[in-house]
Structures are given as C-alpha cells and as structure tokens.
Amino acid sequence: MDDIDAMFSDMLQEMDLLTQSLGAEAESAPLPKPPSIPDPQEMNFSIGFTDLNASLHDLEDNDLDALMADLVADISATEEKFSTERAPVAPIPSQPQSNFSLLASTDTPRPATSSNSIAAPPPPPASKPSKEELEEQMKADKIKLALEKLKEAKVKKLVVKVEIMDGSSKTLMVDERQTVRDVMDNLFEKTHCDCNVDWCVCETNPDLQTERGFEDHENLVEPLSTWTRDTENKVIFQERKDKYEVFRNPQIFYLWKKDKKSLKDMKDKDKEQLLEENFCGASVIVPDLEGVLYLKEDGKKSWKQRYFLLRASGLYYSPKGKTKASRDLVCLVQFDNVNVYYCKEYRMKYKAPTDHCFILKHPQIQKESQYIKFLCCDDEWTMTLWVTGIRIAKYGKQLYDNYKSAVRKAAGSATWANRTIQASSTASTPSPTPKAKTANGHAPQPTVETKGPGNQTSFPPPPPSMENLPPPPPDPMFPPPPPAPSSTTKVNKFPPPPQKPQSSFPPPPMDDLPPPPPPPEDAELPPDFLPPPPPSLTSCGGEALPPPPPPDPFASLPPPPSAPQNFASAGGAPPPPPPPPPPPPPAPAHKPNESVRKVAPPPPKRTTPQLTGPSGGDLMSELMTAMQKKRSHQ
C-alpha cells in the first residue's frame, strides 16, 4: 500500500506541474505557439521552417486553424472522456494537459493511468460466463491493449511544413506512428488534388542537392527527426512518375535488355504475369541490371567507370581484369542501412560526367562525406532504372503492396462521388454511414492521426476479418453496454464535447447494420468548432475516415468489435446517457469540402491516453492477475 500511496502522490505532483503548464499554454494557445515549444530532449521541432519564429509566420491561417483544431480536439476529447468516467477526480485536469503538450512528446499520461488502475481497479467483468478460451483471448487482447496504451504515452509528434508544387504549402502535425501513406491521405484532404498513385512526399537536401521520395510505408517522423535543427531540407508533396512506374510497365525494368519498341505495346496480361513472377514468388526478383556507371572514388574528385551489377544482396561491380562471375564481384554497398537519392546538377557541383547522378547514403548523413556513394549514369532513363532497381532490392514486396493499396485508394476516391449519391438515394440505413465518413474524411489532420494507430497494426484487438464491408461501423469506441452491437451505437461526434458521453443513443441493436447516424451534423457545426474526438479505441473508425470508403480490404482495419466490448464491460461502461440531441437530419450529404474541413474529427490517437485512464485500470489489474496466474502455474 505504501507503494501505491507513494505513487499516487507522485502522480499528483506531476499533475500539478501539468496543470501549471496547462495554464501557461492556455494563454499561448490562441497563438499557434505549440509548435514552438520544443522539448529539447525529444527533438520535437518543426520541420520545414528555418527557425521557429519564422515557422509561425509561415503558417497559413488555415494551417493554424487546423493545428489548433487538433489541439482543442484533444482537450475536449479528454474532457469528455473523463466526465463520462467515474475515474478518480484528481487526474481529470491533468489529463487534457498531457494531451495538450503534444508537441513536446507526451509522457505524462502514463502515471495517471497506473494510478487509476490501482486506485480504482474495476474488477473485470466476469458477468458473462464464457469459455475459458474466450477468456484467455480476452485477456490476451487486454494485455495487448494495455501494452499498446503504454506505448501510446510516448508518442512523438512533429509539425511539418509541406511544400506543394504550386508554391503553396501546408502545415500539418505528423505523429510518430503515421506512415507516409497516412500523411499523404491527410494531404489529399487538404489539397483536394486527385489522389492518383503518383503523388509522393519527397525530401530535399540543398546541401547535397538530393531528392528522394519517401515510400508509402515509411515512417515520416523518424527520418525528419534526424535532420539537424538548422537544416534547410524540405518536405515536398508532388507527383513523381517514377514512383510506381515499375508496376505500370514492369517490362521496361525487367526486360530492359529487349528493344524498346517491342516493350511498348506489351499486353496487360503479360505485364501482370511479369509482376506475378517477380513480386509474388517466395522472394522478390530484382531486375537484372548491369552496365557501366561512373563511380566517384571515395574522397576523391575523379569519377571512374566501372561495370556494375545489381543483385538482391547489394550493388556490386566487377574489378578490372576480372570476369562478371559472382565470386569475383566486389560489393560497393548493401542496402540495409542506406537509401537511394536522386541528385541535381552534379556536373557543376562534383564535376560529374553527366547530371544524371544518384547517391546512396545513410539517411542521417546530411552533408558531403566519404560514407556517401556517388554514382553517375549516362542518361536519365538509366538512372531511373538503377534507382528503381535499388528500391526494389531494398524494399522488396513492400513496394508492391504500397502500390496496390495506393491504387485502391485512388480508385476509391475516384468512385467516391458516385457512391455518395447512390447512398443518399437509397435511404436505407447503411447509406448515411458513408456520408459520415465523408465528413470525417475531410477533416484535415485528425483523420490521419486516427489512421496512424490503425495502420500500425499495433492496435491491440485484431481486426475481425470483415474485409469488404465498405462502411466500417463508425467509431464504436466506447461502446455502450456490451450486449448492444457496438456498431449500432452512434458514438462519436457530439457537438458539445465535454458532457456528452460517448455512447449517445443506444439504438436497438440492429444486426450489423452500420449506424444510421447522419454525419452531416458535423457540417452544421460552426466551422471552427471541434466535435469531440471519437474515442480512439477503435482505430478503425478513424481509418475508414479519410478518403471515403474505398474499402481497401487489407489496409484499413475494420473496427474490432470484440475488443471494444470487452473494454466497455471492463470499464463498467456507464449506462447509455440520455440520448443526445438527435442528430440533425441528414443534411446535404456532401458539403463542399471547405466547410467540412475544419470540422476536424478529432484525432483518435491523442485520445488514447484517456482511454488508458479508465480502462487502463482494469487492464492493468487484469494483467497482473493474469501474470500471477501464470507464475503460479509454473
């Protein structure tokens, strides 16, 4: 007990601190200060601004709004959560605080969580006598969930300014767990560009005059946070034809030795077969590139011709006087630790034979160094060939998966318009859902953030494999009492954030039909007002959000039904609160994005910490009992 007491007091202290800082932050909140309060240790600084002050000036109004929306959403979400919980009183004030400090990475929630867990350990809901296996599974889920939440507490976020080709820029908050794909979805929402597969988030380095497109599966925060503070590197959002060219025209990479003419009009069927052969087998086959390239000697100014060969295991060249036989090859570099970058104007900078150069370097290296491998090709096409080949060798099948999901998304967004119309015309229950998503989808950051956790696969409850359900049930996060199918309850966005607890009206459980909630309510909100964030437990809700429902079976995790239920029951979910104001009648299904945009559905992710609060208790105690059990067995 002493321990607990001590811990509790610790926690209280911490919360005090937090509250204080909250006050401080509250003042500055209207200003977009948050980005400029970096926690030195955590390297949370903004990217794309030369200095922090400048960054503030650079921010467009829109961006500020959006950022603020994020922040506010967090707070309100937390508050809402807390008001609905019977959690200890103390933590409440602090909780929003911790969320608020997003820019400085938040580690605060953790103590709170644990305190909750110990102080108020709501016994696991043993109400339903289920089979042992089920329980086991539930426990496993919970343990995972708990671990997940612990991780959640440490999420790092960056404010990133992204330049767009037309000279404008967007600023967004990127969270450590978001993939580039998530960020791009976010950008699609913001820029209203067509979502074709060529869009790409790129990084540039003016010192080295390099440019590289991030791969969709990559994490954005990690590479950006290794940039130096005074960096002039930029993040650019642009279309790059070469990004997925290999999947549209595999023959020009895999059959590059054949004459170009015959390749031009290759049948789609043959292309597919090529992809199948090279990307769908037990191991990815790398294009058998070989030929003369120029290599800049380590630390020297001269470029020497060498005969290079690409293999899955690395980039090789055959030394003078030797054959091309594998055993004689010399490995220039293996791809585990390096990335490949396009270079600009190296004829000037490094006296390269041509301007078609690429380099291989560790992502953290930002300046000229002997550890960078400089290569130069005769023409642009050769360069594309090699760079793409190296990407295939490095990323393998992942690249193909990225492409497939990009295509799905693009297709989804293209057909979206049609679908909405259909949906609205068939006034059946499911129809509203997609709309709801639209509304959500257009919300700038939050959507993305929501996705983060989902895509990460880190999310605890394994998604049920209801792949092709187009409209994932809207955030069943804090599901009403377990019996009611979680999906039915329309949960999330109630205008008045604080009070309205999550589960508004538990409508009679209708078999898995998605909830009828007319989304448009969002549209009617005052533009800058943020609806409370959908509780994040269901990453799914968020996931489905972004671009309408291109149901992409694999990427998007449908909401895990079971988990929320456990959760709810565990937390002793409050009885459904009085029905919230009935959702406004389905307003015009598609509002112009503009209006909707600001109605950012809250970032689920940030809300997670709150989850930890209430449920965390159960989970932790559950966890401990589980462990004890296990130990005693041994």
């Binding site: 321990d3 607990i4 001590a6 811990m7 610790d10 953790r110 103590p111 644990s114 110990i118 296996e133 086991e136 599974q137 426990k139 496993a140 343990i143 995972k144 671990l147 612990l150 290794t226 940039w227 130096t228 054949k258 015959s262 043959d270 077969q273 052969e277 037990a282 191991s283 990815v284 086959i285 790398v286 058998d288 293999r311 899955a312 295991s313 690395g314 090789y316 054959t323 091309k324 036989a325 594998s326 055993r327 090859l329 490995c331 293996q334 630790n337 560790h362 992502p363 953290q364 290296i365 930002q366 300046k367 160094s369 002997q370 550890y371 960078i372 966890l623 589980a626 462990m627 296990k630």
Partner: protein, 653 residues
C-alpha cells in the same frame, strides 16, 4: 506368310513359354509352362505360381517383365497374342516393388521399396507420399555421378537407413501420427529416420565438402542434367536394378504453395539441396551472400538442435509472448511503483575503453565510465562523475555494429559506425572479457535497430553472441562436424572461401551477417535461406549444351521456370532470352533429335542436344509449363495426365 497368319493358324496350338521366377534365384532354370496364344497374362501368372510350388507366398505384387522388349506386361486381361508374345519370349515374374538406395538431398541414404513398374513420375509420387513430401511433381530421380575413385573409399561404407518394411505406398493412405506418417511412428528406429528427414543435418566437415567439391564450369553443370531419368518410363525400363543408388532431387525450381506446418520434410530437404548447391558452388554467389548463407546455416544448425517441430496454437503464443514481454519488463519488481520505473529501460554501466580512429590523437584506447541507457551510450571521466554532464553521448539508433574480436588474443572490441549529419563516426569500444563484451555487444545491436535493453530479445542476443564466441575457441585444426555449440566455420562455406580465409578471419565475417538472422525461428531461417537462394541471379537455371541449327559451335541452353536463355559457352554471357509466355509451340523431332520452338513474332529456333537426350529438354520445358498451370485454389489433385501430355515422348502420342 506373316507371323500374324501363323498365330492365327496355330491358334489353339499349345506351346511352351519360358518364365523365370525371380524368387527361385538367377541360377534356377526358367519354368516352362504350356500355354495357348489366347491365354491372358493373368492366367500365365497363375500357372507360373502353381508350378513354382510356392503357393503360400504373397504374389500380389508380382508382374511379368518381358526382357527382350524391356517392357512390363501389366494388363492381366490381355492375351499373349495381343501382347505379341511368342515362344521365343523370355518372361520374368518379378515383384513390381523393389528396394532401392535413395539418396536424399540431405545426403541421407534410405533403403526403401519403390515401384519399378510404373512411370518414374508415379514412382516419385509414391516415394514422396511415404516420406510426407507434398508436391511430388517438383521432384524427380537421377543417376548419381559415377564415383571415379575406387581406392579406399569403400571402406567407409556409408550408413543406410532401412525403411523397406514400409507399407507399399499405393496400398495405404498415410495417416499422420505425432505429426509424421503413421508408419514412421511405429518403431523408434523409423521415428528416428523421420526425424533425420525432417531436421536439417549438422554442418558437414570441411573435408567432406572439399571431397565432393569440384570446380565446375557450365558444361559440367550441363552434364548433371543428362542424368535425369525419363518421367514417363519405369525404372526397370531405364535399366535401374534392385539396390541401385538413385538421387531424389527437386528438379523444377518452382516451389508451389509451401506451408511450413505441413511441409516439414519438404522444406528441410529443399533447404539441404540449396545448401549443398551453395557449398559446392553449383550455383554461384558473391562473398557477401556466402557469408549470409553461412550465418543462416550456422543458425539453422544451432536451432535444429534445440527446437523441434512443435505445433501450438497461435493465440496461445500471442498471449505467451505478451506475458513474457511484460515479465521481462517487470522482472524482479515487487511494487507497482518499481514496476513503473522499469518501464524505462534498464541500464548497463562499466569502465570500458574507447578509441576513435578519426581523431588524430595518440592511437590508443582511453578508459572512461560508460553507461548504456535506452539506445544511447554516454561516457564520463569516472564513475564518480557520472552524475554530471557526460563527456559525450552517442545515440546508436541506425548505427552499424561490427565485432572486432579475437578470443585467442583476448581482444573484445565493438566497432561502431554511428551516422551523423556529417557522415559516419567510427568508434571502437574495448571490453575486458567475454561476458562484458556479450552484454554490451547485444545492447549495441539492439540499439542499432532502435530497441532498448528492455527488449525481450536482449538475453537471447547475449546468448547467441556468447555461443558464437565459443566457436572461436574450438581449434580449427580438428575438422569435425558440427556438434553441440562448437563448429568450424569452414564447414559453412564453399572450399573457395575455405582456402581464402582462415577460420579466424571467417568467424567475424559470419558473425557480422549472423546478427541479422540470430533472432529467426527455425522455419523462418530456413525460409530466409531459400529466399536468398531464390533471389540469386542464376537461380533455377538448368543447363544443357546444345547446338543451334545453323551454328557451328556448341552453346548452352539455360532452362528456367519462365524462360529459356541462350548462353555463350566460352564467355558465359547471356546472348538471348525467350520467355515461355511468348512461346507458341515446341516440337521434338525424335528421329534427328532436334527441338524446334516457335515464339511470337515469327521467331523460330531449333537446336539439337549435345549433353542430354532431347527428351530431357522436352520434359523440362513441358514440365515448367505444367508447373505454371497449377493454381493456388486447386486442391491437391495432381493432373498426371496433363503432365504426361506435356512431357511425354513420341511413344505417348
């Protein structure tokens, strides 16, 4: 008068047919039985059995073999007349299933009964069924290389595992018991045999490799392919005799639908075949790749010793790992408060020596007090000053870690290449002894992958480093095969590298590659090995020396699962590639032994085969086409008829 006419005239005439019975021994004179031409084969067998006076024996597996024509008489209802058998025919009543010494890809020799009367394709199916190898169509039989040296090798007397007592594959459908076919579960001996098949063999002694190794050029590789048996004819027809030795190998390099759970033997044997191909340089790879293969072999060998195939339910594994992970984190904690503490990573701290080659200071290691926390190393002047600002901090995330170790010299250094904006910073850490080294090395490796000391893999990482260090302790002179922990690194690489590097030099190279695979499970490691093997540029190519029509010199035809390539024999360069999906048709002219292929766009090629029968080329091409017709959805039914249609010789048409 034609012979046909005679047979009609003598229709009812009785004549003597001589049939030898194998069971009576080779010396015994053939039995003479009186038959008429309309007696059917079944009747002949019956008469022979009666006459041989061994009625009690089970004759059900016996059939008549016509020696002169080299063919089986398997249709019991056919009459002698229909078969074309006359008084001059010498028939032999012999069992259809005979024992054979079968050399598995792993080198194990099995003595087992196989079918000598059905097509090799079907015989292989039977073998695979017994051994629990799925997808038998990918395998086939070939003659071993004649052993030239007949000196004292015979003394060795290879070990043969006898499973001739196994039920004939056709008679029973194998049922699984304890994860193996029921037959194997019957006795401890057979169970041991199955384990031999299902678990990869320990690394061979370097001299074993050296003995089998021969520098082979592409022509010699082509000769290997001349030894394949004809899939559409029976073993006996192809001159295989009882107790002959044949190799069972994966022939078509397209491994369909591998399921690690169901394919234990298949995967293991596939791995063995791949491993030997690499050790003997039947397929070329680069030095870097060789090191990765060596690391994987070492790892697989090590894990095989401990890990057995255990089936467990994935849900439980998840829970277990979650709990384990948590337990590691909570280890030794009693109070909740402490528990929170441990959520932050534990630390390492010690006096170590550091050396930074880049700085032009005196070459030497300086001692500092080091702490390792999360993924960061900090060092201080002394332990007492560790509360102050560190002299330097190094975040190892994303760095390269390499060992610089000599157990004999008691040198335990860790070489770090730490990326920074300006480039890579090279740093050496010197530890005093093994224990310390293993812990710091493990921490560095985890940190380079962004994991902290709290990660559950830390202790296993420490262990694997220690066991690898143990490798160095064994004296390289004793060329023994892999035993428990100790191993000679020479047994992991091909003789070329055995010559090039001493074990001392080899070990760090392998260790470097090993750190990337050390955490793989047995099946993952095997699959990784196979993946890298399959990604080699020359993977899956079977060579045949051919002479293209209109050309004067021999060239090499490479046959892969999706293409044919034409290779210049002298240089080894690929001259031309044809893909099957542009192939319109291929024809074999059996008389002049020429294969002609037509591709889209009026491309026609024709060649005669120099090192192999054109049936082998034909079968390869047809076989790969057949393999490509297999779909994932298809159930396990094997379309044997289609296979023979695609690969059969002229007699099939």
């Amino acid at each position: 008068m034609t012979s046909h006419g005679i047979s009609i005239q003598l229709r009812m005439a009785v004549w003597d047919l001589s049939v030898s019975v194998e069971e009576l021994g080779p010396e015994a004179p053939p039995l003479k039985i009186s038959v008429t031409s309309d007696l059917h084969i079944g009747g002949v067998i019956l008469k022979v059995v009666e006459k041989s006076r061994e009625n009690k024996k089970d004759w059900s597996d016996h059939a008549l073999w016509w020696e002169q024509k080299q063919q089986w008489l398997l249709k019991p209802s056919w009459t002698l007349d229909k078969c074309g058998i006359h008084a001059d025919a010498r028939l032999c009543l012999t069992p259809q299933h005979k024992p054979l010494r079968l050399v598995m890809p792993s080198g194990i020799v099995l003595r087992m009964k196989v079918c000598f009367s059905s097509s090799v394709f079907r015989t292989v199916m039977g073998i695979c069924k017994l051994l629990n190898i799925r997808r038998p169509e990918e395998l086939s039989l070939l003659w071993p290389v004649e052993e030239k040296k007949k000196k004292k090798d015979k003394d060795f007397g290879e070990e043969v595992y006898d499973i001739t007592c196994a039920p004939l594959p056709s008679s029973t459908i194998p049922k699984l018991a304890n994860g193996m076919p029921a037959f194997f579960a019957e006795t401890p001996e057979t169970e041991a045999v199955y384990k031999m098949l299902a678990v990869s063999q320990p690394a061979p002694a370097p001299e074993t490799i050296a003995k089998l190794y021969r520098t082979i050029n592409i022509t010699e590789k082509a000769h290997i392919n001349s030894r394949w048996l004809d899939s559409s004819r029976s073993l006996l027809q192809q001159g295989v005799k009882e107790f002959d030795k044949l190799l069972l190998r994966f022939k078509y390099y397209t491994f369909h639908d591998i399921m690690p759970q169901a394919d234990v033997v298949r995967l293991t044997q596939l791995y063995e075949q791949a491993r030997w191909a690499i050790l003997l340089e039947e397929i070329e790879c680069t030095e870097e790749e060789m090191m990765v293969f060596a690391a994987l072999q070492y790892h697989i060998g090590k894990v095989s010793l401990t890990e057995q195939f255990v089936a467990s339910c994935p849900a439980m594994e998840d829970l277990d790992s979650a709990l384990q992970c948590l337990e590691v984190k909570m280890e030794g904690e009693s109070s909740a408060d402490d528990m929170l503490e441990t959520m932050t990573a534990p630390e390492l701290h010690d006096y170590l020596k550091i050396f930074r080659p880049k700085r032009l200071t005196l070459k030497g290691y300086k001692q500092y007090w080091f702490t390792f926390k999360d993924t960061t190393i900090s060092y201080y002047k002394s332990k007492e000053e560790s509360s102050k600002e560190p002299i330097q901090q190094m975040n190892l995330k994303g760095c390269e870690v390499a060992p610089d170790v000599s157990v004999a010299g008691q040198k335990f250094c860790i070489r770090l290449l730490i990326p920074g904006p300006e480039g890579m910073n090279e740093v050496y850490l010197r530890c005093e002894q093994e224990q310390q080294y293993s812990r710091w090395m493990a921490a560095c490796r985890l940190a380079s992958k962004g994991k902290t000391l709290a990660d559950s893999s830390f202790s296993s990482e420490v262990q694997s480093i220690q066991s690898f260090l143990a490798m160095q302790k064994t004296t390289p002179s004793n060329n023994t095969a892999q035993t428990d922990e100790s191993i000679n690194t020479h047994s992991l690489v091909s003789p070329r590298y055995q010559k090039k590097y001493k074990p001392k030099q080899l070990t760090p190279r392998i260790l470097e590659a090993y750190q990337n695979v050390a955490q793989l499970s047995l099946t993952d490691a095997i699959q990784k090995f196979l993946q890298i093997w399959q990604a080699l540029p020359d993977f899956g190519l079977s060579y045949i020396v051919v002479r293209f029509k209109g050309c004067r010199k021999d060239e090499v035809l490479g046959i892969a699962n999706n293409r044919l390539i034409r290779i210049d024999l002298s240089v080894g360069d690929v001259v031309k590639t044809w893909r099957y999906n542009t192939m319109r048709q291929w024809n074999v002219n059996w008389d002049i032994k020429q294969v002609a292929i037509e591709f889209d766009g009026n491309v026609n090629i024709a060649f005669s085969c120099v090192t192999a029968d054109c049936k082998i080329v034909h079968e390869y091409i047809g076989g790969y086409i057949f393999m490509s017709t297999r779909s994932r959805e298809q159930s396990d039914t094997l379309n044997e008829e289609l296979f023979h249609k695609l690969t059969g010789g002229h007699e099939a048409l």
